[in-house]
Symmetry: C2
Subunit: 139 residues, 2 copies
Amino acid sequence: MKAIGNVELFFKGDPYNFAIKAFCTRWKPFLIKAIGYDETTRFNRFTKQLPISEKVLTENLRELEADGLITRTVYAEVPPRVEYKLTELGRSVCPILEAIYDWGWNEMKRLGLPIDPLGEMWHGYRERDEKVMESPFKR
Amino acid sequence: MKAIGNVELFFKGDPYNFAIKAFCTRWKPFLIKAIGYDETTRFNRFTKQLPISEKVLTENLRELEADGLITRTVYAEVPPRVEYKLTELGRSVCPILEAIYDWGWNEMKRLGLPIDPLGEMWHGYRERDEKVMESPFKR
DNA sequence: CAGTATCCTTAGGGATACTG
DNA sequence: CAGTATCCCTAAGGATACTG
């Protein structure tokens, strides 16, 4: 964004955009939810559970880590193992994400829009099918 | 986004992205908050209170209206007068936005980051100064 | 006053190939 | 397995001039 007077400052100093950037983007709610479901998750698990490219996944995980929402633990094994977990701060955004999901779910229902069943399983709106939840997007 | 299998469907049917698109974008929290503060707001008031261009403002207002979060009332006067108000649905997102703002505010405070005082006034974290709140970005 | 109409720039996301 | 490294593309946002 170009600067008009104090515009940059306005956005840099804004808690809305700070928080939205931290966990209200296209992928982050899913990543946080995916970790929550498994308690601890590995890199490839994400790529099986979500239609996300490696590059975008890496970027998002690095940001979540930098913002303190998740931890990344590397185990010195062959083949390598890296595990992702939510931090306390990461868990603190879950109720907000639940509220966002619920709002969207209710509004979509009201409008009669089709809702993805996978997300509903993750959120407890639909009975879980572990086979489907494990790797719906495995390529 | 290109389609990989059922990716498009995944996103179209996702309540997170539905809700985020509806009110968790760069400008919409401000617009919703700006209306809330004034109860009813006019087009030019937004451009004085926020560093937003007319084009982007128009787009955002149209989307908010299409999604049922605000109403747009045209009065047949000269010069023209158009007033924007929150709907019941629009008011229903305010608690979620408050939670998002609060999370961001607390986290920014913890990190020692500077927070824009104007937003703090709007949110009651700082004493109101009507002169500043009226048109901080008037050009 | 309340917008359109243009034109332009950039950041986010995507596909794919490669590596320690 | 868990990522980098490239290259590409489009959609969101921005500046500015104009209008009923």
